[in-house]
Amino acid sequence: MTDVVVVGNGTAAHRFVQQLAARGHPGTITVIGAEPTPAYDNALLGAVLTGSLSADAIRLPAYDSGVRVLLGSPAVGLDRHRRLVRAGDHIVRYDRLVLATGTTPRIPAGSPSGAAVLHQITDCARLTGDHPVTVVGDGALAVEAAAALAIAGRAVTLAHRRASLLAHRLGTIGSTLLTRDLRRSGVTVRRGGPGPQHGVVLLCAGMSPATGLAGRAGLAVRTGIVADDRFRTTDPAIHAIGGCAEVDGRVEPGAVAAWRQADTLAGLLTGSAGHYRGTRAVVRLRGAGLDACWFGDHPEPAGAHEVSLTDPARERYARLLLDGDRMVAGAMIGLPTGAATVTQLVDRGAPLPADWVGAVLGTDAWPAPAIAPAANPVVCHCNHVSRRAVADAWSAGARSPAAVALATRATTGCGGCVPEVAALVAALTDGTADA
């Protein structure tokens, strides 16, 4: 019998436990959670903060009755030799240990003391109220928090450190559009540190993998807990998944990656073969007049080719990096239908369709053009010879491209129109085109 112990009670842990149980894992399952509250979806904390959802509403479904859950018990140490976890008042024995400790908020040097973070449900109480909020940060969390607070009627300032907001993800154009959207929602956007504040400072400077427990136990740690593509840490009895893990060299933030990793590990531990191939998840910012999304490795993979659509008048932008027809990175703004399409394709690992402009614009494509191409276009630009001139020459007896060239000068310049003239002469000759 394999006793599985999970340290952590967030998105990755919850999904893993549910999957393990569903696949009929024969041994015991124990969940050790640091917070006293049952598992909840921390991606929805912003909604709790602004009051659109209650704390209960973001709770995750209860575990199976056979799962042992220890709440309010932060894990403080591992004994890898005896396979024991010390957490709160408990000492728990494991055959397999799964670390799903998630992330902790990054506190940049020089941050004001007493600044708030939005990481756990208990943080919401500090931030609710009427006072103005200064959100400090550059990334998706900062933008979303600022937008949500503005929608909820708070006076919000977003102070960002980098030159342009999310330019490294959305590009210069996308960044400009996003900043414009934020301002239109009532957020004051400015570059720089928190500055003189009124009200609360909310730090949204990114999340770091929570690796303290693993590090102290002597497991290899880089950015995250080092794990291979089967989620094994440097101790084969211990796995790591979710935001705390560096799987096959990559830390994958976000819920979608957490679910995929959890599903894969649950499969592996219940007898499936195979390994984890990584998740390409689309980060989507929505609400408050924002519709931006991006995905892919950063920095961008070299050698990928790019398609893009830029529509400044309608404040829309999309850029996709492709390897063949597979999307490896991208960013979109102001294109809700296209973003939904692309998100689905990326999630499924499906190729971008050949009609990529249609896919990106979705139902927002411009009306079918009413103007047809000109009837008598120029065939040879160097010598300014029109299609009619070629057809006339053919009618007058020039039955080969060489004869047409003599009669009209077509093809005698740069030679670029040779294929077209040849095709036209052939079509006139075999009657598929009228002279």
Partner: protein, 424 residues
């Protein structure tokens, strides 16, 4: 118009083209045409000047001889409009019923201190080429001021002479009139890979000569000093519109004889075409549009009805740089929709489209210009799938097929005189 005397002032490529167009339809017209060329040699292909530096003889550049009264080395000094006569420097007076001005343009020499040093040349005429060829030394450094079409051609020419060229361009990237920053950046990277040294975003602020009066170095606006054994001016041209201005014809604010879309000046007997003209105030500076204008005037003089459908300008197309570059319409389109496909290394394709109507406004092709004919044919018309994909394989085959099928429906008109459009 059948018995009228037509006088052509200027025997460059466009003057030559006009004469050829007129003769093609009516060989008998040769008795009524007089061409007055200022240069002492007959019309030659100025776009292939650099060939003369890599072995081509100047005679090889000559355009086809024309059996009309061509007077070389003959400079017109004045147009006497009331008397319908042009006056030459030698005192000759030639009467005209119709007058075509094809006087071209002269190279712009930027007012850089030291520009009179030996070894500094414009890059425009056969004479310039001869002097450049005489002054060039293999292995020596040649600086070209100007990174547009002309500058790139001049740099290419220097490479053909065995010199090491360096381009100085004011814009942030080469061919800034035809390309956008992304395409320009790819082109710049390609040029550097071919060994062409470039400086962008700077101008020349001083030319330094040695004690022998020969150019030694160029100072740039960012302070860099560049060694130069030879220097070429390729920053632009100014239209030669003085004849027109002196006789009271309107001249555009930026220079050039002001003409309408049919090349007409304010005088019903006088037209202006080519580099000397500004169509609705805009100077085009390329031989393609010049040819189109020349053909249009010739057609008019033959008695053909004027073409009421304004044709789009031909694309700009360059193959001399080891990479193909094409640009058409208005590829800048500040507020238009821009659709791009690029491998971010050596292939770049862009369409500029009106966001309301879906009409194609312009485009840029770099590295692989296979879609050029199809796309250019859609200028001013709607463009949709599959051309929008900017994928060479898909676009070309389908559209070549479609255009061939449409070959015969060549603009028939209905009884009301309206042009019939085929179904797309």
């Amino acid at each position: 118009m059948r018995d009228e005397q037509v006088v052509v002032v200027g025997y460059g490529m466009v003057g030559h083209r006009f004469t050829e167009s007129l003769l093609r339809a009516d060989p008998a017209a040769r008795q009524r045409i007089v061409v007055l060329g200022e240069e002492p040699w007959p019309a030659y292909d100025r776009t292939r000047l650099s060939d003369c530096l890599s072995g081509q003889t100047t005679a090889g550049l000559r355009l086809a001889p024309q059996a009309v009264d061509v007077r070389l080395g003959c400079r017109v000094t004045r147009i006497d409009r009331p008397a319908r006569t042009v006056v030459t420097a030698a005192g000759g007076r030639i009467r005209y019923d119709r007058l075509l001005l094809a006087t071209g343009a002269r190279p712009l020499i930027p007012p850089v201190p030291g520009r009179d040093a030996d070894g500094c040349f414009p890059y425009r005429t056969l004479d310039d080429i001869r002097r450049i060829r005489a002054a060039a030394r293999p292995g020596a450094r040649g600086v070209v001021l100007g990174g547009g079409l002309l500058g790139l051609e001049a740099a290419n020419a220097l490479q053909a002479l065995g010199m090491t060229p360096l381009i100085v361009e004011r814009a942030a990237y080469p061919m800034s009139a035809q390309l956008d920053p992304a395409a320009g950046d790819l082109l710049a990277r390609h040029l550097r890979r071919t060994g062409l040294d470039c400086r962008f975003g700077v101008t020349a602020t001083g030319i330094t000569a040695g004690r022998d009066g020969r150019v030694r170095a160029v100072t740039l606006s960012d302070g860099e000093v560049i060694e130069a054994d030879l220097l070429l001016f390729a920053v632009g041209v100014t239209p030669r519109d003085k004849l027109a201005a002196d006789c009271g014809l309107a001249v555009a604010a930026g220079g050039g004889v002001l003409v309408d879309a049919h090349a007409r000046t304010g005088d019903p007997r006088i037209w202006a075409v080519g580099d000397c003209a500004a169509v609705a105030g805009r100077r085009l500076g390329l031989v393609g549009p010049g040819f189109a204008m020349a053909d249009a005037v010739a057609a008019h003089l033959r008695g053909d009805p004027d073409d009421t459908d304004p044709r789009p300008l031909p694309p700009v197309r360059v193959k001399t740089l080891g990479i193909e570059v094409a640009s058409f319409g208005d590829p800048h389109g500040a507020n238009a929709v821009q659709i791009v496909r690029t491998d971010r290394r050596s292939v770049y394709r862009k369409l500029t489209i009106d966001g309301e109507t879906g009409v194609l406004l312009g485009g840029i092709l770099l590295g692989d210009i296979g879609l050029l004919a199809e796309l250019h044919g859609h200028l001013g018309a709607g463009v949709s799938e599959p051309l929008l994909r900017l994928d060479c394989a898909a676009g070309r085959d389908e559209h070549l097929g479609r255009r061939v099928r449409q070959a015969g429906s060549s603009g028939r008109r209905n009884t009301a005189g309206e042009r019939l459009q085929p179904q797309a």
